[in-house]
């Protein structure tokens, strides 16, 4: 039953000397009377493999019980913990403090309603966007017989749809978007990506004309200024700029614009 090791296991990283990291947080709790926006600094010992999830929880447990932030999966898959990390929107749970240097500045995502400190209401924004874009499969038949074989789909197409379906609605693309900062009704790259996703899906009964009706104006695809920040910050590396350009080209071709 013995067999030789296929490859030599990687040795664990050598121990590094401990050092301090300083985390500056933009704090404000609109629920609390007298609260004003301010920066607050916390210092803590940096540990090997420390993420912002670990660091912020340590601050809350040992230094400041009132600090607000949102984590759920702490594994980079649920999208709860997006915040502005040293000026750039990203997922805090999978960001190592070591990758940021000794001074870290954290702020809540802009555009979204602030709950308190680093916690923002992305859920409300995303639901409104989904309702506005009717972001669900519009089935061709109302009732399907679920005891029969499922409808077939080419394996490549399923994979292509999944590529766009990987969006976790974290809000990074919206927070990084110039248009979203200026137009409250802009559906953002997250919304346009959904249109691209449902357009690709043969189970959705909607036609191109239906989709164009939803996004064929400045709150939709013509609001995009092609700054490409959405594409750069997407934690799932979704091809957002490509999808937006594609939807826009399709629309121009269909005689809109």
């Amino acid at each position: 039953m013995t067999e030789p090791a296929a490859t030599a296991p990687r040795a664990p990283a050598p121990e590094k000397p401990q050092h301090k990291v300083r985390i500056n947080v933009l704090r404000y709790n609109p629920q609390e009377r007298g609260s004003v926006p301010r920066m607050q600094a916390y210092e803590l010992e940096e540990a090997e493999g420390m993420t912002l999830f670990i660091a912020l929880n340590e601050i809350r447990e040992k230094q400041d019980a009132s600090l607000h932030f949102d984590f759920v999966c702490r594994a980079g898959i649920c999208g709860s913990c997006a915040m502005v990390i040293n000026g750039r929107p990203g997922l805090a749970c999978r960001t190592l403090t070591q990758s940021l240097g000794p001074e870290i500045t954290l702020a809540p995502l802009p555009v979204f309603e602030l709950i308190a400190d680093l916690s923002v209401n992305t859920g409300k924004w995303m639901r409104a966007m989904s309702e506005r874009l009717q972001a669900w499969v519009h089935m061709k038949e109302q009732e399907i017989d679920i005891s029969r074989l499922e409808q077939r789909m080419e394996p490549e197409l399923a994979q292509k749809i999944y590529e766009l379906d990987r969006c976790i609605e974290c809000g990074c693309c919206v927070a990084a978007c110039g248009t979203a900062r200026m137009r409250q009704d802009f559906v953002g790259a997250v919304g346009l990506n959904k249109i691209a996703r449902f357009r690709l899906d043969p189970r959705d009964a909607r036609t191109d004309a239906d989709f164009y009706e939803l996004v064929g104006d400045d709150s939709g695809v013509f609001g995009c200024m092609s700054l490409l920040a959405c594409h750069d910050v997407c934690p799932k590396s979704l091809p957002l700029a490509t999808q937006i350009a594609f939807v826009r080209r399709k629309m121009a071709g269909a005689g809109w614009n």
């Binding site: 296929a6 499969v137 499922e150 077939r152 749809i161």
Partner: protein, 672 residues
């Protein structure tokens, strides 16, 4: 007094809760779903590798059907499951996959022709059938005879949750986000809804409903090392327990997943091993075949986790500054496979370990993963003791998993449970049975009681620190109520948890905000969690046998003669420090599959006195009905189909079991 009325109140916005909501709304009832977080952030999204459903499309799944899925699940449960519920589940799982397919889940699909796979460490070519082309794909998972896990790359739960949540939005189902239920409103026999706290403003609201369904997931955060999301604290389960009327069952049955990355405790899917990944020790040796020659890396999770810990204890673990671990090797699967089918795994390895699993081995060690126990319900999801209360998904114990759950059966259960329980709730709400007469005095009493508890916490300065109590509880659960248990350790755990519970009555806060105050949240939750932890530890202490994930060094054998029982726990008075435990027998004579060897793991167990008689009965029925077809035989062994809602009773079509008249010759093909 702030009161909101609805027909169905669902506590929890993951897959089970959303599906209950969709089912009830479709039948014309008003629904409000409460969720701690936006529903798409629920822990359902964390299911990576797949959902068990016997579609039988791929060539390695040929011959799969409800019967095989049933047997795998019952063996996996170590004969603890309710076999009628397992039957209902395996019938409905294929329908759940197909419903989700219609709602937009981009299930990975079969391509006809040759493909290369890794089986038992060897490259093998298998040939998929032409007639399977474009149907939903299956991969191998632990503890199953056939390849049965339907999947979407390794983001299965994410894709399912998004499609489900999108359908809930399409049906205009109301979701109240960032709302937390603090107590169920009841009069000792009827549940009327819940007292709910707004996590942003701190305001209390009473929700009054004909039916209240708890679908709040598991309680992994009772443990220090868990794969569960931070919101999986078992609060929904504790709400039922705190009524003193509803029972929780089998809380001692806690599953540890073999492959949590070390030390961050983030799950990497069982699909890694299902697709051919191997476990290796400090010497690089593949060790599972020595322990489990039949199923090797793909024995059930309880068995693999125990073998891994045993191997570490024998000195074969890899030593690191954080402690010891083993290796998961998926390098043999190759870049192409990992980049398309295990990409979340690759991302997790990149961000949390700084390694690339295409070339590097992944450090892993078992971590708490799943709560088999939960709120005791009957097959319809209803609490037998508190009318109007329902539960589904991981929060419930209707009892699909017994003492060990198979990989891919939980994400399947969320949807199937939601489908079945949703129908039963709709039936209930449509009948006069559900008519409510409630005194506003009762609502006020519950609201005031909860407010008083919060005020007491907020008003106490310098008392116990909630966080310290929580951490200590998690450490005790980890070190004394973990994978290997003994009476001595469990006794010590019960003692100390009781002392923590007493101390938790004097928690004080340092931060004074009334609204969204994370310290206050932590304070009231730890009081509830300690009660649940005591149900786990005390149940484990009382159960003097080993079954499934519950393993006692001092009682290493499964003991059907004395312990073919569920453990029921109730919390009679808020002042108690221990639950009242009772035993609910599991009847051998009604079982379709009488207890025996699981096909992996330990071979010595003590039989129940009825087992031999039932085995003989089952054999007689099988030989009498030989050739009568599998459905007839099953019906004679253990009738169950009347328990299924009518909507889900029809048989499931497969390539090898076509309906007549056959399905339309060539279903619409989608072109890329």
């Amino acid at each position: 007094m702030n009161v909101i009325y609805t027909d169905v109140l669902v506590i929890g916005g993951g897959l089970a809760g959303l599906r209950i909501g969709i089912g009830a709304k479709r039948r014309g009832h008003d629904v409000i779903i409460l969720s701690l977080v936006p529903p798409k952030r629920s822990h359902s999204a964390a299911a990576q590798g797949g959902m068990q459903a016997s579609l039988g499309n791929v060539v390695k799944a040929m011959g799969d059907n409800e019967d095989v899925h049933f047997e795998d699940t019952v063996r996996g449960s170590d004969w603890g499951a309710d076999q009628r519920v397992v039957r209902m589940f395996v019938d409905t799982a294929p329908k759940a996959v197909r419903e989700l397919a219609a709602w937009g889940v981009p299930w990975s699909r079969v391509r006809k022709g040759d493909r290369e796979v890794i089986i038992n460490g060897q490259k093998t070519t298998i040939t998929e059938r032409d007639e399977a082309h474009g149907l939903v794909m299956q991969r191998d998972f632990g503890g199953t005879k056939k390849w049965r896990a339907c999947y979407v790359s390794d983001g299965t739960g994410h894709a399912m949750l998004y499609a489900m949540s999108d359908q809930a939005i399409a049906q205009a189902i109301t979701v109240h986000e960032r709302m937390e239920a603090l107590a169920l409103i009841h009069d000792g026999s009827r549940c009327y809804g819940a007292v709910v706290r707004n996590l942003v403003t701190g305001e209390l609201v009473a929700y009054v409903a004909k039916a209240t369904a708890i679908a709040s997931g598991g309680a992994g955060r009772l443990y220090r090392a868990t794969t569960n999301a931070v919101i999986c604290e078992g609060i929904g389960t504790a709400l039922a327990l705190e009524t003193g009327v509803a029972a929780v069952a089998n809380m001692e049955a806690i599953q540890f997943h073999p492959t949590a990355i070390f030390p961050a405790c983030i799950l990497v899917t069982e699909g890694c091993r299902g697709d051919g990944g191997l476990l290796r020790d400090a010497e690089g040796k593949r060790f599972m075949p020595d322990y489990e020659p039949e199923k090797k890396e793909l024995a059930s999770r309880d068995v693999v986790s125990r073998r891994m810990e045993e191997h570490i204890r024998s000195g074969k673990g890899v030593k690191s500054r954080f402690g010891e671990h083993l290796w998961l090797d998926i390098t043999l699967l190759g870049a192409k496979h990992i980049d398309s089918n295990l990409r979340e795994v690759k991302e997790i390895c990149h961000y949390f370990l700084g390694i690339n699993p295409i070339t590097d081995w992944i450090p892993v060690r078992p971590a708490q993963h799943y709560t088999m126990g939960g709120i005791r319900t009957d097959y319809s999801g209803a609490s037998p003791t508190l009318k109007g209360l329902y539960a589904a998904g991981e929060a419930a114990c209707w009892d699909l998993h017994g003492f060990n759950r198979l990989g891919g059966n939980s994400v399947a259960e969320t949807v199937v449970g939601g489908m079945i329980v949703g129908e039963y709730i709709a039936d209930f709400c449509a009948s006069a049975e559900s008519n409510l007469t409630i005194s506003t005095g009762l609502i006020r009493e519950f609201l005031e009681h909860e407010q008083a508890k919060l005020d007491a916490l907020a008003g106490n300065r310098g008392g116990e620190e909630a966080n310290l109590l929580r951490v200590r509880m998690q450490e005790i659960m980890m070190s004394r109520v973990g994978i290997f248990r003994t009476g001595e350790e469990l006794g010590a755990a019960v003692e100390e948890l009781q002392s923590l519970l007493r101390r938790s009555r004097n928690i004080g806060l340092r931060s004074t905000a009334n609204g969204a105050n994370p310290e206050l949240v932590s304070a009231y939750r730890v009081q509830k969690m300690l009660r649940l932890a005591l149900c786990v530890a005390y149940g484990a202490l009382t159960r003097t046998e080993s079954r499934g994930a519950h393993f006692r060094h001092d009682y290493p054998r499964r003991n059907d003669a004395e312990w073919l029982h569920r453990t029921l726990a109730t919390w009679k008075s808020p002042d108690d420090t221990l639950p009242a435990l009772a035993r609910e027998p599991i009847e051998v004579m009604q079982k379709e599959l009488p207890p025996g060897w699981r096909g992996y793991g330990a071979k010595d167990y003590l039989d129940h006195p009825d087992t031999a008689r039932r085995v003989a009965e089952v054999e007689a029925i099988r030989s009498r009905l030989a050739g009568a077809g599998r459905t007839k035989v099953q019906e004679a062994l253990m009738p169950y189909s009347v328990l299924l809602p009518e909507r889900f009773r029809s048989p499931n079509e497969r390539i090898d079991e076509p309906f007549s008249p056959p399905a339309p010759a060539e279903p619409r093909m989608a072109t890329p």
